[in-house]
Each structure stands twice: as structure tokens, then as C-alpha cells.
């Protein structure tokens, strides 16, 4: 069986990450799928269709985790993912390449805070599924109708659906109705305090935060890889995460090998913005970074980080990360690997020895050109004139 993989797509300031397990189960965390009209944009959708599994010709992800509803975390959901009853997925949908979400993870309190077309579509789809569960429809447990409620309720009340719920401090090891002996997720946020804290950055700070935990075999004492995902969570969230996790003696859930820097390498992870007014990083944020293990990497899913006033990505924030992991282990999705001017995804393979770059693929001695060649798709001019 192939090793699990974690892929961070280059989507500018935004997040799209794909976890692929040994059994090809796929978990997508957020999406920011932009139109590929411009030549320097990586075609995320095309790669997703190559990466996910198919059931009767229908492409599907096992899990969609939307950390929060900001546009740069759900852009393209409405257009590229199927919404509606799974049995109504048609040949036309197939042609469009609509990806079915077998099980969606939905945080009610986060849902209430955002509004854009994609977020609305996500919420509507969630409500469609919740309604099926609520009225105990016989189809409620079919793939495409499955849903997990993450965290607590906002205004709407889903108490009767508590069996679908996972709250901070819990470990989830069942994905799309399949137990995963070698993979689990520790949920850190959103927690109840998020309901009470009010502030400008509230919606950013209220993200699903989780630690993805990988093993390669059952006999391993420790995890092979720990990857932290936290949407746009800010320093106040991380302060609470640290406090609670320690309180319940779950320090192991703070360790990481891969840290997707929150809010695209924003200063908000370290302190309030603007940085000029709050130049000192919070102790708790720095402490969170100290839970890294050997050879840990920070991934900045953002535009190129320049020495300017942009935030995000924020230059000073990067400096703080680099202080912890060194320059070579700080990876920016826009600059990490650029081929013909197009940024490529950052991919890690999970081994018992931690993460490692995937194997390079060999070529062959025999070769042909394909229909997709630029030369084939454009005029070529010859002659002396």
C-alpha cells in the first residue's frame, strides 16, 4: 500500500489541502479553487480529479472539512462540488466533474458568521443533510448524505443530533463510515468560549483547528506524522487551545511536524494586528510552535512573502516561524516549486521516519508528445521572412 500523503495546493492567500490515506481515502481541508484563466494559476480542480476516488464514475472526497466560511477557504465549493441528494447525481454532473462530498464536517457556530455564495452553498448542503438525519430518512447514512457536527451550536439547536457531533478534546478515527486504524484527528477548536468572545477578528479566530495524526503500522509507539490545521485561528484561540489541552493533559495533541501557518502567515497568529502596534509575539503562540518535533516544517499557504507591509502574508510573522524551524523548513506554496511560472503543490509522504518528499518519478527512454503540448495547441511559424 502506498504511504499516506499530505498535499498543500498553491492557491495564493487561501487554503486547499488534501490528505490521502493508505486506502486512498481523501480528506480535503478547505478549498480556494480559482478560475484558471491565467497561466500562472495551478489547476487545482484537475489535480483533485486525478487524486480522488471514483464510485460508479462519480468522483468523490470522503471528507470535506471547512475550517470556516471565509471566501478564501471555500471559493469554488458551489461550482466544483456536488450539492443535493446523491441519488440525483446525473451524467451531466459527471461530465462537469462535480465532486461529491461523502461526508461533510460542519460547525454550526462558524456557519452563522459568514456569508458568501460558496459558504451559503456549504451551509445549505449541510442543512439538507441534517434534515434527513433529523427525520431519520432511510437514506441519511448513504455517502453523500453523511455529516459530522464539529463543536457546539450557535443559534440553531442540533441537540437531537448529538450522535453526529464531535467536540474539542475528542479524537475522531472514523471517516466516511470507515474506521481508520492508522489515522485520526484530534479536535482543538472551535470551543465554547468562541461564542462569547466578540471582536473584529471573531470570524477568523473561530476556525476548526485540528491535529491530523498518522501512523504507518499498528505496532508503532509514536505517530509517524502530526499535521496541524487551523484555518484562520488567531493568537487568542491558540492561547485557549494551549490552556485547555494542558488542563486535560492532552499535550501530545499539540505536537506537530507540519504546521499550516494560520491565516496565510498572518501576524494575527502571534498577536493583534497591526503588528506595528503589537510587535511582541504572545508567549502562548511561541509555545505552540515549541511543540514541534524534529525536522518540523511550517507551510505558508499564501502569496510570496516580501519584506513589505502586507498582512497576510506578513514578513515579520515569517521571521518568527523561521526562528523556530529555520529558513529551509519554512515553505511557501507560491515559491516552493515553480514550473514554467506555475507554482506546484507542496507534497509530503508519511513514513515511519516522519515526512519526506515523495519519490522522484523516473522517465523512460521512449517518449511521445501529447495533445496537450503547447506546440500542438499554438501556431508555429517557420521560414526566413
Amino acid at each position: 500500500m502506498p504511504n499516506p500523503r499530505i498535499k498543500y495546493y498553491p492557491v495564493g492567500n487561501g487554503d486547499t489541502s488534501l490528505i490521502t490515506l493508505e486506502d486512498n481515502t481523501t480528506i480535503i481541508v478547505d478549498c480556494n479553487i480559482r478560475n484558471c484563466d491565467e497561466n500562472d494559476i495551478y489547476d487545482v480542480k484537475a489535480d483533485l480529479l486525478k487524486s480522488v476516488q471514483f464510485a460508479n464514475g462519480v468522483p468523490y472526497v470522503d471528507i470535506f472539512i471547512l475550517t470556516h466560511g471565509d471566501q478564501d477557504h471555500c471559493r469554488g465549493f458551489k461550482k466544483h462540488f456536488y450539492q443535493g441528494a446523491p441519488e440525483k447525481y446525473s451524467e451531466a454532473h459527471k461530465k462537469e466533474g462535480l465532486i461529491r462530498v461523502a461526508e461533510m464536517w460542519f460547525s454550526p457556530m462558524i456557519a452563522e458568521q459568514h456569508s458568501n455564495d460558496d459558504e451559503d452553498a456549504y451551509q445549505q448542503e449541510a442543512e439538507r443533510r441534517l434534515a434527513l438525519h433529523r427525520k431519520k430518512d432511510p437514506r441519511k447514512d448513504n455517502p453523500g448524505n453523511r455529516i459530522k457536527i464539529i463543536g457546539y451550536d450557535g443559534n440553531a439547536d442540533y441537540k437531537d443530533l448529538d450522535h453526529l457531533r464531535a467536540v474539542p478534546g475528542e479524537i475522531v478515527s472514523r471517516f466516511n463510515d470507515k474506521g481508520q486504524p492508522l489515522f485520526s484527528v484530534f479536535i482543538h477548536a472551535p470551543f465554547k468560549e468562541h461564542l462569547e468572545t466578540l471582536g473584529d477578528d471573531k470570524k477568523n479566530s473561530t476556525s476548526i483547528v485540528f491535529q491530523a495524526r498518522f501512523k504507518n503500522n499498528l505496532f508503532q509507539a509514536d505517530f509517524s506524522t502530526l499535521a496541524m490545521f487551523g484555518g484562520d485561528s488567531d493568537h487568542t484561540s491558540w492561547c485557549i487551545i494551549l490552556e485547555k489541552t494542558k488542563k486535560y493533559k492532552n499535550e501530545h495533541a499539540l505536537n506537530w511536524d507540519l504546521f499550516l501557518s494560520p491565516h496565510h502567515c498572518s501576524w494575527s497568529f502571534f498577536n493583534d494586528r497591526p503588528q506595528a502596534e503589537h510587535p511582541e509575539p504572545k508567549e502562548t503562540s511561541l509555545e505552540a510552535l515549541d511543540f514541534r518535533r524534529t525536522g518540523a516544517r511550517v507551510i505558508s499557504s499564501s502569496k510570496k512573502i516580501e519584506d513589505d507591509d502586507n498582512n497576510p502574508p506578513h514578513f515579520e510573522a515569517k521571521r518568527e516561524y523561521v526562528k523556530k524551524v529555520t529558513e529551509s523548513n519554512f515553505l511557501n506554496t507560491t515559491t516552493y516549486n515553480v514550473i514554467n511560472g506555475v507554482p506546484q503543490p507542496i507534497v509530503f509522504e508519511v513514513t515511519t521516519q516522519g515526512v519526506v518528499k515523495p519519490k522522484q518519478s523516473e522517465g523512460t527512454a521512449k517518449v511521445i508528445g501529447g495533445a496537450g503540448l503547447g506546440a500542438v495547441n499554438s501556431a508555429s511559424k517557420y521560414g526566413n521572412g
Binding site: T225, G295, Q353, V356, K359
Partner: protein, 760 residues
């Protein structure tokens, strides 16, 4: 730093490189390297090119802290003449490379560093479709895998040493050797030392040792005697066997070693340090060799078992056996010691074939409980049998009275050495040799004892009965065997001058039976031109044969023209059919046809027919006669009768009658000719057009199907023949009994109670 590199010991290569492919690859390599390459002399018309390779290392540190670095220096060795047909060899350039911890390294030779075993298959074949860039990628991935602990493809098992440069082969069953170590089936001459007898086939070109048996308390004395007997025979004696005693040495139970010793011993001195490395007590071996070696040949095998932390890949236990060939002459030993630095070579181990493995490789599940009786081990039979045997099905009872004659070798699976042997017995012997270390399951018989087929015992143990005899007598016998019911009976033969292969496979409860299937196939000639043409050709051939009388000359003739490939074509199809049916046999009867067409091009086509059970009735007046109706015929006649209402009606039946099996097969019927007359009490069957119709059927079937009897209805009963009926019967009888052969008078009446057959 430079001093840690093997490259410093190599001289610079100063000649010109003329091989254009090599020059081209070196250019690519230089582009990858980013700077000029150093070209060194490896010797033997080979150049060595040092290269630094980048390696991706895992985040948490290397597996077991193995010392693999982000930049690894390697040496690429190119053959000046044979490149690129000969793939580059790749060695580490580091003298301190962690070689003893890694599988997939070749053992070091001639004081060179160990080489990377970078492809499972043949490296030259792999490189045929790769460029030098791909090789660099592969080596980089190899090192990455070594660092992540994934070099071994199966992490739960232990990768054995990669050995090269074998002088010969040793064949034994791994599990038998494990048994020897455990003491289950061997006497331990010393604490960790046992002896086994091996034979070296005289004709083998390579040095090959085949395991015969281990020495036990019970057999040691007799074995020594047996070996001495062979020794006494003259060298010219073809029956003389070359026996060698092999020594098996292993280490103590608690010495577990995971290291790879990449310098395997080439001499006694090196062997001793090898033993030291793996914690083996070589003095036991030395003492036995020096004091009481029973070998008359100077060469003999020594097998060394090393305990590994996990089971060896592909084997059941954690003991890895390394196989050596020692050369010890009488001058090499003195006072219990080996006094000279005797040479030692490596032998490669081959596992003898087992039927489980054969079945696995053939992608076939064998039903180990089923047993197959095969009648006829001629050209066709022997080929089908060997297909089954090679796929692991060895539960075979083979029966054939004939012996292998020289002309048989043109088409039979057996070879010249079996000339004069009984075909079944020789074939069984060959099959046993395929699986020499497993208990015999194949039995070859000259013949069955008289009456065996008439007793249920034989069929109780055989689930499948295969007939390849091409014998009509046996076909009849099989048809009439009463002692078998729930058995799968198959009769296969070749016809049409070797161009048509036919398999009759009976349905459940022996219905349709093989003779039903044959009658069915013949009856298709009415509408199927291919079958009709074949039967007509058969008729012609038979008639010709009748002119030049050749009594007793069948297919087993020196003059039968039929090539080996044609038989093989049929045999391979038949065996495919059988294997499939043996997995899940169908309820209906089946006829499989394999047709070779010679012109305009040589082509092969197959056809499968599925046949419903026949309706079987006994003659009302003589229950010795069975009447078997092709499916649907009785219903159709009944339908015609009921349509005639209160009037009688009738017609003619077509089919075949067989006196030997006392069976009448009805394969078709003809309605009343137009000049027939009928009322409620009488039916006069007319004949207008009837002769033409019968003639057509007869001609189309090459004389196999024809008029067989009559039918008429009694709309109001009775179920008996009337007086008038009997008059007609007697009239027919008067005519039929003078025919050669005579034809029985066969009459069926259809009444409201059903169909009633009568045979006179």
C-alpha cells in the same frame, strides 16, 4: 574527507572514450552534475565516474539512525564496449557507507565497495528503456528508501542477502532444512550440525546438488551403505549416482543477527571470520570434515543457517540459509583440523516446486479433495494431463495400456528416454518429478482390473472421469456404467483429420450423457453447414478406409498424419475448459468445439453448446431398451397430436440406434406426409416426400442420423398397441431384420396419458 572515498584508489582514465552512446550519457550526466566529471579507470574495460547524488531524508531522522546523508557520493561504472546494452553498475563511494545494515546491496567483490541492487529484475533489461537521468533518480530514491526504512518492500519480513557469482545450484525444500535444524527429521552429529545426502545429476552442465534425505538415527547406517554401493560402481556405469554428503551448520537459538555481511567468504580463513561475525561455531564443522568426512568427491555442499529477527521473505521461518561449496582434499586435513586455506564458492538455492506453488503461479485454485481418473494417455490425453499437473492438479489416476513407441514422440509430451515404458506409468513418474519433495498423488496404471468400472468403489474416489481414449468401445462402456451417478464425465476426441476437437461434458446426474451429447451434435447437421460438412467428410474417410482394409489401425498408427501443434491446440483449449468446469461445473451438458481452419489462413475458432437434459423412457414391451429424446421433442409431438383433435395422427422419428448400449436416440420427428389418411380410429402414414426428407437428413449427417421409427396418436387411448399396430410392426420387422445391420422396429404411441415407446 577525500581519504574516505573509494575513488582515490582508482587511476585516472586517460584514453579516449569512443563509444558514442557512452559519450552522450556522460554529457547528460555532466549536465546533471553541473560541473566536469572525473573519469577513472575501473579496470576490465570499464570506467568509473564519481557522482554526488542528492537524497531526500525524512523529518524525524533516518530509520535506525542509519548513516545516509543528504549528499551521497556514488561511483557509476560503465562498460566501455557494451554500454548501453550493459547497464551501468552503481557503487557507494563512501568507505564508511553503512553497508552491513542494508538489504539490496550486492556482496563486495575484489575489494571493491558494495554495489546497489537497484532493480528487482535484470538491470540490463530495465536500462533498455531508461536514460542515465532515470538511473540517478532511481539511486536517489533507493537511498531515500534506505533512510525511511522502506528499502525492504515487505516490512514485516526480512530481506535476505543479495548474493552474486554462484558456481552452481543447490535444490532443497526450505522447510525440510528447517526441520533438520529443529531436529525433527535429522540426527545432530554435533550440537548445531547435521548431515544430509545430496545427489549431483551426471548430465547437468552446471554444478547442481539435489536434496535426497537427511541422515537420521534410523537411516544413517543404511545410507552409508547405499552411498558405498554407488561408489563401487564404475565411472562408466550409467546407473551410478553421484552422492555427496552436505553439512548443515547453524547458530545458537539466542543469536539473532540482522546485519548484512557484504564480504562473503571465498576461502576457509574468510569462512572462519564470517562464522565469527554471525556467531557460528565452525569448529564443529571443521572437526567432522577433518576426521570423518564420508565424501569421495572433493567438492561438497555446506549450508549455513543464520537466525534473522523476522521471517525471511517468502519463507516460513527466520533462518536464512547460505549455501557454499567446499573443496577439501585429503591433504587439506590433519589431526582434526583443516590445515590449508581451501577454496569456497557460493551455490544458489532453488526451492523445489510444490503443487501449491504451481497452483498459485497458474492462478488456479485446486480442489485438493477431488481426484481425476484419466483414461487414455496418448498424444491428446498426455497434453491435457500435463497442463493439469503443471497447474498443481496432481490427484490423478492415469490409465493406458499402451507403451511409448518412437513415432509417438512426434505428438506425445513424453521424450525419448521413456520409449518402451507404459504411457500412464511414465507420465505419472514425470509428474512426480515435477514435485519431488511432496508425497505422491499421481498414479499410473497399465489397466484397471476387470470389473473395476462396474463397482462403485472406483467412482467413489474419483470426482472426474476423463476419456481421451478415442475408443468407441470405451465410449460405450462409459455410457453404460451403472456404478456411477453423481460424477463429472467428460469425453474428448479429435476428428476431421485433426481439425476438429470435440469435448462432451455431461450434465448433472449424467443427463445429458456423453452419447446424448454425441447424438445432439450429429443432429445439428440438419441446419449447421460446418457440422454437416464435417460429418460428410468423416463418412467419406470411413468409406475409403473400408476399401483398403486396415484392421486394427487407429490413430495410433505410424502413418496417421497429424502434427504436434494441432494436438496441442486442442489440448490447450480442452484443458482450459476443464479447469474452468472444475472450479464450478455447469448443470447443463456442454459440447465444446475447437476448429482449426487451414485456408485461406490458419485460424482457430471455438464454439460452445449448452444442452438440456434428454427425456429418458424405457420401452414398454422390453425394458432393456432405453429411448432418449432430445429436449422438446416429446412435447412437440404431443402438441401436434392434440391439435389433430379426435383424429389420429402420426409421423416418423429420426435419430440413432445403438445396439451396444441398447439405446435409441430420438433427435427429431417428421409430421404425417400429405398423402397420409386419418380418422378417429385409423392412421395411414403416407410417404409423399418422405424419402427425400430422410435422405437429406441422412446425407447432411454423413449417415449418422436417419429414420429410426414411427409415431402415431391414440386420441382416446388405449396406451397399448392395437391389433392393426402390431400388423404394421410385424411387416416392418420382416423388412428390418434383413438389413445389415438390422434395425429394430421402434414405435411410439401418444395417448392422453403421454408417450409410450415400443421396441421390437
Amino acid at each position: 574527507m577525500e581519504m574516505d572515498r573509494f575513488r582515490v584508489s582508482l587511476p585516472v582514465f586517460s584514453s579516449d572514450i569512443e563509444n558514442p552512446a557512452l559519450r552522450d550519457s556522460l554529457k547528460s550526466l555532466e549536465a546533471l552534475n553541473g560541473s566536469k566529471l572525473q573519469i577513472l579507470d575501473w579496470g576490465n574495460d570499464k570506467i568509473a565516474v564519481p557522482f554526488n547524488i542528492g537524497v531526500n531524508l525524512p523529518s524525524l531522522g533516518n530509520f535506525e539512525n542509519i548513516d545516509i546523508r543528504e549528499i551521497e557520493p556514488i561511483i557509476l561504472v560503465f562498460d566501455l564496449i557494451n554500454y548501453p546494452l550493459s547497464a551501468p553498475k552503481v557503487f557507494t563511494d563512501r568507505l564508511d557507507f553503512p553497508k552491513s545494515n542494508l538489504a539490496h546491496l550486492y556482496i563486495a567483490v575484489n575489494n571493491r565497495p558494495p554495489g546497489f541492487c537497484y532493480v528487482r529484475e535484470n538491470a540490463d533489461e530495465w536500462y533498455a528503456n531508461k536514460r542515465i537521468d532515470d538511473l540517478i533518480i532511481r539511486i536517489s530514491n533507493w537511498l531515500r528508501d534506505a533512510a525511511t526504512g522502506e528499502l525492504t518492500e515487505n516490512g514485516e519480513q526480512f530481506e535476505p542477502l543479495r548474493l552474486e557469482g554462484y558456481i552452481g545450484t543447490i535444490i532443497y525444500d526450505y522447510n525440510s532444512l528447517i526441520g533438520i535444524v529443529k531436529g525433527d527429521n535429522a540426527f545432530h552429529f554435533k550440537k548445531q550440525l547435521a548431515v544430509a545426502l545430496f545427489e549431483r545429476p551426471i548430465q547437468a552442465e552446471r554444478y547442481t546438488f539435489k536434496f535426497i534425505k537427511s541422515l537420521t538415527v534410523g537411516n544413517t547406517f543404511s545410507t552409508i551403505k547405499e552411498v558405498d554401493e554407488e561408489r563401487k560402481k564404475g565411472k562408466e556405469d550409467a546407473t551410478r549416482k553421484n552422492y555427496h554428503y552436505a553439512y548443515i551448520l547453524w547458530n545458537e537459538e539466542d543469536i539473532i543477527n540482522k546485519e548484512y555481511y557484504v564480504n562473503l567468504p571465498k576461502s576457509w580463513e574468510e569462512f572462519k571470520s564470517f562464522c565469527g561475525f554471525y556467531g557460528l561455531d565452525f569448529s564443529q564443522l571443521e572437526e567432522l570434515i577433518a576426521t570423518s568426512d564420508g565424501n569421495s568427491f572433493v567438492y561438497f555442499p555446506v549450508i549455513v543457517g543464520i537466525r534473522r529477527p523476522k521471517a525471511i521473505i517468502g519463507y516460513s521461518s527466520n533462518i536464512e540459509f547460505i549455501n557454499f561449496r567446499f573443496r577439501v582434499d585429503s591433504v587439506d586435513v590433519k589431526e582434526g583440523k583443516i590445515i590449508n586455506n581451501i577454496p569456497i564458492d557460493l551455490l544458489s538455492h532453488n526451492q523445489p516446486l510444490t503443487f501449491q506453488q504451481a497452483s498459485k503461479i497458474s492462478n488456479r485454485n485446486i480442489d485438493v479433495d477431488s481426484r481425476i481418473a484419466v483414461f487414455g494417455c496418448g498424444a491428446l490425453g498426455s497434453k491435457v494431463i500435463i497442463h493439469l499437473a503443471r497447474s498443481g492438479q496432481t490427484n490423478l489416476t492415469l490409465i493406458d495400456p499402451d507403451q511409448i513407441s518412437p513415432h509417438n514422440l512426434v505428438r506425445h509430451v513424453l521424450f525419448g528416454e521413456d520409449e518402451g515404458e507404459n504411457k500412464a506409468i511414465a507420465l505419472a513418474k514425470r509428474i512426480k518429478n515435477l514435485y519431488p519433495y511432496q508425497p505422491t498423488r499421481t498414479i499410473g496404471l497399465f489397466a484397471l482390473k476387470d470389473g473395476t468400472l462396474d463397482k462403485p468403489d472406483f467412482f467413489d474416489i474419483h470426482n472426474w472421469i476423463l476419456d481421451f481414449t478415442a475408443s468407441e468401445a470405451f465410449f460405450n462402456k462409459l455410457t453404460n456404467v451403472k456404478s456411477m451417478e453423481e460424477r463429472n464425465v467428460v469425453s474428448a476426441s479429435i476428428s476431421d483429420l485433426g481439425n476438429l476437437g470435440v469435448v462432451y461434458m455431461e450434465g448433472g446426474n449424467r443427463n445429458p450423457r456423453i452419447d446424448d451429447l454425441q447424438a445432439y451434435l450429429y443432429s445439428l447437421s440438419e441446419n449447421d453447414k460446418k457440422i454437416s460438412d464435417w460429418l460428410q467428410r468423416e463418412q467419406l474417410t470411413n468409406n475409403n478406409n473400408n476399401i483398403t482394409v486396415r484392421v486394427g489401425v487407429g490413430c495410433n498408427s505410424e502413418t496417421t498424419v497429424l502434427s504436434d501443434d494441432r494436438i496441442s491446440s486442442h489440448a490447450s483449449y480442452f484443458s482450459g475448459v476443464l479447469k474452468r468446469e472444475m472450479l464450478a461445473s455447469s448443470k447443463d451438458g456442454k459440447i465444446y468445439l475447437n476448429r482449426i481452419i487451414d485456408s485461406p489462413d490458419y485460424t482457430i475458432e471455438t464454439q460452445v453448446l449448452s444442452i438440456e437434459p434428454f427425456k429418458v423412457l424405457s420401452a414398454v414391451n422390453d425394458s432393456n431398451w432405453a429411448v432418449r429424446f432430445k429436449d422438446g421433442i416429446v412435447e412437440q409431438i404431443e402438441h401436434v397430436s392434440s391439435k389433430a383433435g379426435r383424429n389420429e395422427t402420426g409421423g416418423v422419428l429420426v435419430g440413432i440406434c445403438n445396439y451396444k448400449t441398447k439405446t435409441i436416440h430420438v433427435t427429431g420427428y417428421i409430421n404425417a406426409p400429405i398423402d397420409s389418411k386419418a380418422d378417429a380410429f385409423n392412421f395411414i402414414r403416407g410417404h409423399e416426400g418422405l424419402p427425400d426428407e430422410i435422405r437429406a437428413i441422412q446425407n447432411n449427417s454423413g449417415g449418422q442420423i436417419g429414420y429410426i421409427g414411427e409415431w402415431h396418436s391414440h386420441p382416446e387411448g388405449p396406451n397399448m398397441l392395437s391389433q392393426q399396430d402390431m400388423i404394421s410392426v410385424n411387416q416392418h420387422k420382416a423388412e428390418f431384420q434383413h438389413l445389415n445391420p438390422p434395425l429394430p422396429v421402434f414405435l411410439c404411441i401418444i395417448t392422453p396419458d403421454g408417450l409410450f415407446p415400443f421396441v421390437f
